[in-house]
C-alpha cells in the first residue's frame, strides 16, 4: 500500500511530462537529475546505513539471476550502482566513510529516505534502468540528464566523437562548417562533437520525440552550448530544409534493432527505454538506409559522416548499399569496430564534385 502510494507520487512529474509529449507541446519540463537537486532532506547516518544495508542485501540476493535470464546486471554491478546512487544522493561524500562509526550524526540528502527505498525497489523489482533512477548518465567526460522517453547513451557511441575528432584533425575546413546529429536523444553526440568543433562550430540536432528534444535542450543549456547547438523537433532530415547540400558533417546513432528482437532484450531496455529509439523495422535497417539516402543530398562535397549500426551484418549491408545503389556518391568508406571488437560504425565522405 505504502509502496504503490509512494511510487505514484514519484512518477507523477515523470508521467505528466510523458503525457504531454505530443509534438505541439514545447513547454516540456525535463526532470532535474538527482545529483543536481538541492540537499534539502536530512537523515540520521544510522538510518542511511540501514537503507544501504537493506539495498545491498537486496542486490546481493539477485546473484546472477538477471544475467542468466536476459544478460542483465549481476549483484556486483548492482552493488556498484548502489555506491553511485549514494554518491548522487548524499551531499557530503566524506560522511559515507563514517557510516559505521558516527551513527548519531545527521547527513543532508537530495532525496528523502522513503524515496531512496522506492528508487532501489524499482531498480531491482521493475528493472528500471539505473540511469533513470538517478536521472543521469556519465558519458565521455559529460554528465547527461536522461529520463524515461529518452534513450540512455551507450558507451559504444562515445567512439563516434573520436571518429569525428580524427576527421576534423585531418581536414580543418570541416571544423568551421555546419554539422548535424540526427535522432539526438539526450544530445550526447551533439554536445560531445561541439566540444571538438570549438566556439567556431555550429551544429543542428534533431529528434522526433518532444521529450528527447526537451532533455537535449536541458543538457545543451547545462554545458552552455545553446549558441552553438540548435535543436529542432522533427523526423530525420525534415527540419533541415535550409541546410540541404551544406552540411560539413553528419552523425547519427539511429534505431537499428530488428522489430522481432525487441521483446527478447534485457528488461532494462525492452521494458523501459523508448521503442522509438530502438526499433527499426524487419531487418533493423530502415533508419540507416534513410540516413544514407539523405546524406547524398544534405552533405556538401567532402562532407564527413559516421553512423552507428547493430554490428557486422548491418555495416556490410550499408556499405553494399552505398557502393551499389548510391555509387559515385561516397568515398573512403570504412567499417570501424567498437572496443569489444564488434564492427559497429560506418564512416565515409561525400564524394567531391568532379
Amino acid at each position: 500500500m505504502l509502496k504503490s502510494c509512494a511510487v505514484s507520487r514519484l512518477c507523477r512529474p515523470l508521467c505528466s511530462s510523458l503525457s504531454l509529449s505530443s509534438p505541439n507541446s514545447l513547454c516540456l519540463k525535463p526532470q532535474v537529475p538527482l545529483f543536481l537537486r538541492p540537499p534539502i532532506y536530512s537523515t540520521r547516518l544510522s538510518d542511511l546505513r540501514k537503507w544501504h544495508d537493506w539495498a545491498k542485501s537486496l542486490a546481493s540476493s539477485i546473484g546472477s539471476t538477471f544475467e542468466r535470464l536476459d544478460n542483465g546486471p549481476d549483484s556486483s554491478h548492482l552493488c556498484r550502482e548502489l555506491k553511485w546512487l549514494m554518491e548522487d544522493a548524499v551531499e557530503d561524500h566524506s560522511l559515507l566513510h563514517q557510516m559505521g562509526v558516527e551513527s548519531d550524526r545527521r547527513v543532508k540528502t537530495r532525496a528523502d529516505l522513503e524515496e531512496l527505498y522506492n528508487l532501489w525497489k524499482q531498480r531491482i523489482e521493475e528493472r528500471r534502468p539505473f540511469q533513470y533512477i538517478v536521472g543521469c548518465e556519465h558519458w565521455r567526460d559529460l554528465v547527461l540528464s536522461v529520463q524515461e522517453g529518452v534513450l540512455i547513451p551507450r558507451p559504444e557511441t562515445e567512439l563516434i566523437v573520436d571518429l569525428v575528432c580524427d576527421a576534423v584533425s585531418k581536414n580543418e575546413v570541416l571544423k568551421g562548417g555546419i554539422w548535424a546529429d540526427l535522432g539526438t536523444g539526450s544530445g550526447a553526440l551533439a554536445i560531445g562533437i561541439c566540444k571538438i568543433l570549438g566556439s567556431g562550430g555550429r551544429l543542428i540536432a534533431t529528434d522526433l520525440s518532444a521529450a528527447a528534444v526537451a532533455v537535449a535542450a536541458y543538457n545543451v543549456q547545462r554545458y552552455s552550448l545553446q549558441d552553438i547547438i540548435e535543436l529542432r523537433e522533427g523526423s530525420w532530415f525534415k527540419p533541415l530544409d535550409d541546410v540541404e547540400g551544406k552540411l560539413a558533417g553528419l552523425v547519427s546513432n539511429p534505431p537499428y534493432i530488428p522489430s522481432t528482437d525487441i521483446s527478447g532484450l534485457q528488461a532494462e531496455v525492452s521494458r523501459h527505454e523508448p521503442r522509438l529509439a530502438l526499433d527499426a523495422g524487419v531487418d533493423g535497417m530502415d533508419a540507416l538506409f534513410h540516413l544514407c539516402d539523405g546524406a547524398v543530398s544534405f552533405l556538401k562535397p567532402g562532407g564527413f559522416f559516421a553512423f552507428e549500426t547493430n554490428g557486422e551484418k548491418q555495416c556490410r549491408a550499408l556499405v553494399d548499399y552505398m557502393e551499389n545503389n548510391r555509387s559515385g556518391s561516397f568515398c573512403k568508406l570504412e567499417i570501424v569496430p567498437d572496443f569489444a571488437g564488434i564492427q559497429r560504425f560506418v564512416t565515409g565522405y561525400r564524394r567531391q564534385a568532379i
Binding site: N71, P73, R154, P155, E156, I257, Q266, V269, I342
Partner: protein
C-alpha cells in the same frame, strides 16, 4: 671570547644596541645574510649580526665568516672548510661535548645546541653528505664543459640535479651557520649581561630546534621520486574469502592513513571478492611526498587471526601484497607511449552490445603489447573516463618499469620491483592469540593493531625509512 671582540664591543656600544633592535625585528639571521653580504661597504654602517661578523672577519678572528659565496657556490672549497664559532666550536665539537639534551621547555642553550647539532648530523647522514658533495663536484665539472648544451636534454637533467643538490647543501649549511652564530651571540650577550637579548636568542634557538625535526623528516625523502603522488595497489594472496577480507582491511588502512596525512584518495579500480573483501584494488594518493612515505609499505603483509569466515573458529594466516607506483610529475621524464602498441579491451557481457544492452559496466583494460603491462579501471562512471584513468595508471607502470631498467644500469635501488614477490614479507599483524604488529625489516613493533589498521602507520614508515638510510650508508 676573543680580546678583539670584547674591545670592539666596548667601542661600539651603540652598534650593539642597534643589533638588538635589528635582531628582534627579524625571524632569523639567515635573511640578514643575504641582504648584508650584497653590499660590503654598507655593512659597516648597518650592523646586522652577520655583517658585524664580516666586519670582524677582516681581522681573521671569525673563521666561519668568510664570504658566503665561497662557502656555498664552490663546493670544492666548501668541503674542505668546517664552520665554527669565534672560539673554534664546530657542530662536531658540540656533539663531542656530550652535553645533556633537556626537554624543549628547559631554557638551556647547550641543550638546544646539542639537539640541533644532532639534527644536523642526522640530516647530513640521511642526505649521504659525502656522496652529495662528490656528486655535486662532478656535476659542476660537467656543467663547465663547453659542449654541454649540444645535448639539451642531458644538459637540462644535469643542471636540474645540480640545482637540487646545491639547494639541499645550502639549506643544511645555512642551518649550521645559524646555529653557530647564535652560540656566538649568546656568549656575547652573557658577557654583556644582556638578559633580554639572551632570552630572545634562546627562543630563536628553540624555534630552530623545533623546525629541525621537520627537516630531518624531509631529508629522509630526498629521492628523486619521493615528492610525487602515487598509486597504491593491494592484492589478496591465496586463501579465498579470508585473505580477500584481509586485502580490504589493508586497503582501508591506507585510505585512512592517506586521509590523516591530508592526501586526496581516489579509488581507481576495485575487484570485489565473491563473499567479502577485495581480490585487488588500486587507489591514487594525491599529495606531496605521498610516494616518499608510501614506498615504505611495498611488500607482503601477513595477518594472523581467528577467521570470522571459518565456522570452526580456527586460526588463519593470510597474505596481501602491496605495490606502490610513483606518478612522475615531470613530463619530460615520462615514457612515450605509442597508440599502436596498445590493445584496449572493455569488459562487457558478451552479446550484441550497443542498443541491445543497458549496463553500467564500463571497465576498461589497456594492454601495452611490447611489455605486456596492463592497467584496468572500472570505477569511473563512463567508459571514456575509465580509459583515461587506466591510461594514467599504465603510464605510471611503464615509467616505473623504465626507472627500474635505468636503476639496474646504475646498480641502485632495484628493490622496489623485486620485492613484490610472495617470499618478501615485510610486516605481521597478529590479532590472536596475542595482539601485535611487527615490522620484520626493522623489528619495530606496537601492541595495538587496531590503531595501525586505522591508519596510524607513520611510526612504521619513519622507522623503516631511517633504517633503510642507515643500511644504504653501511652498504656504501
Amino acid at each position: 671570547m676573543s680580546k678583539f671582540l670584547q674591545r670592539s664591543c666596548r667601542r661600539s656600544r651603540v652598534n650593539f644596541q642597534r643589533l638588538r633592535i635589528l635582531f628582534s625585528s627579524s625571524s632569523g639571521f639567515s635573511s640578514f645574510l643575504h641582504k648584508s653580504w650584497g653590499n660590503h661597504s654598507e655593512s659597516h654602517h648597518v650592523l646586522t649580526p652577520s655583517s658585524w661578523f664580516w666586519f670582524a672577519s677582516k681581522y681573521r678572528h671569525f673563521s666561519h665568516s668568510f664570504p658566503r659565496e665561497t662557502i656555498l657556490v664552490s663546493t670544492g672549497s666548501f668541503a674542505a672548510t668546517e664552520l665554527s664559532t669565534s672560539d673554534g666550536l664546530t657542530v662536531e665539537g658540540i656533539l663531542a661535548n656530550n652535553w645533556t639534551i633537556l626537554p624543549e621547555n628547559e631554557s638551556d642553550w647547550k641543550s638546544h645546541a646539542t639537539a640541533l647539532a644532532q639534527s644536523i648530523h642526522v640530516i647530513k647522514r640521511r642526505l649521504q653528505w659525502k656522496n652529495l658533495i662528490v656528486r655535486c663536484t662532478l656535476l659542476s665539472a660537467e656543467l663547465n664543459k663547453p659542449d654541454l648544451w649540444d645535448d639539451p636534454v642531458h644538459a637540462g637533467k644535469i643542471s636540474r640535479e645540480h640545482g637540487s643538490l646545491l639547494g639541499k647543501m645550502k639549506e643544511v649549511n645555512a642551518l649550521e651557520q645559524e646555529l653557530l652564530e647564535h652560540i656566538d651571540m649568546i656568549k656575547l650577550a652573557r658577557e654583556e649581561k644582556d638578559v633580554e637579548l639572551e632570552s630572545d636568542l634562546l627562543k630563536a634557538l628553540l624555534n630552530m630546534r623545533r623546525n629541525s625535526k621537520e627537516k630531518e623528516l624531509e631529508a629522509m625523502l630526498s629521492g628523486e621520486q619521493d615528492p610525487c603522488s602515487c598509486y597504491i595497489e593491494v592484492q589478496a594472496g591465496a586463501g579465498g574469502t579470508e585473505s580477500m577480507d584481509w586485502a580490504a582491511m589493508v586497503m582501508q588502512m591506507y585510505k585512512s592513513w592517506a586521509q590523516r596525512r591530508g592526501y586526496k584518495v581516489t579509488v581507481m579500480d576495485e575487484m570485489p571478492g565473491e563473499i567479502a573483501g577485495i581480490k585487488r584494488a588500486t587507489i591514487k594518493v594525491d599529495g606531496e611526498f605521498a610516494f616518499g612515505y608510501a614506498k615504505a609499505e611495498i611488500g607482503v603483509h601477513r595477518l594472523v587471526r581467528i577467521s570470522p569466515f571459518d565456522s570452526n573458529k580456527r586460526r588463519h594466516t593470510s597474505f596481501a601484497a602491496v605495490a606502490v607506483i610513483p606518478i612522475l610529475g615531470n613530463e619530460a621524464s615520462r615514457v612515450q607511449i605509442n597508440e599502436s602498441d596498445l590493445r584496449i579491451e572493455r569488459f562487457r557481457a558478451g552479446g550484441a552490445g550497443g542498443q541491445h544492452v543497458n549496463t553500467t559496466e564500463s571497465a576498461v583494460r589497456i594492454i601495452h603489447i611490447p611489455t605486456g603491462v596492463t592497467a584496468t579501471c572500472q570505477n569511473e562512471r563512463s567508459q571514456h573516463q575509465n580509459k583515461a584513468s587506466a591510461m594514467a595508471v599504465l603510464q605510471s607502470r611503464l615509467d616505473q618499469l623504465e626507472m627500474a631498467r635505468q636503476a639496474q644500469f646504475n646498480a641502485q635501488h632495484t628493490q622496489s620491483l623485486t620485492d613484490i614477490t610472495w617470499g618478501n614479507q615485510i610486516r605481521s599483524y597478529v590479532l590472536h592469540p596475542y595482539r601485535m604488529v611487527k615490522d620484520v625489516r626493522t623489528n619495530y613493533e606496537v601492541s595495538d593493531p587496531d590503531s595501525v589498521l586505522n591508519g596510524d602507520l607513520d611510526s612504521f614508515i619513519f622507522s623503516y625509512l631511517s633504517a633503510s638510510l642507515d643500511k644504504e650508508e653501511y652498504d656504501a
